[in-house]
Symmetry: C2
Subunit: 111 residues, 2 copies
C-alpha cells in the first residue's frame, strides 16, 4: 500500500478544483503568490494553505526572493504522476487476479 502513498498525496492535492487550477496556471510559468491570489476569491491565509499542500506533495516548488515567494511546477513529479496513468493502460494480460492468485501490480503489498 505504501507505494501508492506518494501518488495519493498528489491526487489529494489535485482533488480541490482551486488547487488544480493553480497548478494549471503554473504550467504557464513561475508565479508570485500575490499574482495567484488576484485570480481567486479567497483569503491570503487560505491560499497559503493551498500552496503548502501543493509543495508538500511535490507538485510545486517555492522560491523565496525578498518579501515574495515565487511558485513553479516540479515537472519531475508531474511526469511521475503521469506515469501512473500510463501504467494503467499498459502491461495488460499478465495478471491472473481472476483466479485470486494475488498477483496484480498492487496485490503483493497488501498482505
Amino acid at each position: 500500500m505504501e507505494r501508492y502513498l506518494e501518488n495519493t498525496k498528489v491526487f489529494k492535492a489535485l482533488g480541490d478544483p482551486k488547487r488544480a487550477m493553480i497548478v494549471d496556471m503554473l504550467s504557464c510559468g513561475e508565479l508570485c503568490a500575490c499574482m495567484i491570489l488576484e485570480k481567486f476569491e479567497m483569503s491570503q491565509s487560505t491560499l497559503s494553505h493551498h500552496m503548502k499542500l501543493l509543495c508538500e506533495c511535490g507538485l510545486v516548488k517555492g522560491r523565496e526572493q525578498g518579501k515574495w515567494t515565487y511558485y513553479s511546477l516540479d515537472t519531475d513529479t508531474v511526469s511521475r504522476t503521469k506515469q501512473f496513468f500510463s501504467a494503467l493502460t499498459s502491461d495488460k494480460g499478465s495478471c491472473i487476479c481472476k483466479e485470486g492468485a494475488g498477483c496484480c501490480k498492487g496485490c503483493d503489498e497488501n498482505e
Copy 2:
C-alpha cells in the same frame, strides 16, 4: 473553474490509497467485487462505497452478471486524465500571467 471539476472528481477518487490500489488491480483486467474484497481488510459496505465513487467519477465501469458485479477500468477516462498532466508540461511560454493579464489556461473562467 467548471472545466476542472471533471478531473477533480477523478483525483478525489484516487486520493484514497485503497481506491488507487483498486484501480491498479483493475488495470490487470476485470475483477468481481468479492475478489477485490478479499485483498483488503474492509467491510463489504465500505468497499461498495469505494466502488460507487470510482464509478461515479468515470474511472471504473460496473457490469452486473447474476449475483455478481464485475468491475473494469474505463480507459477513456484514464486517457483523459493522463492528458491533464501532458498539458502541464507542454504549451509553455504562451502565458503572460506574470503581467497579470489573466491569460493562462485557467484564468478565463475565474471571473
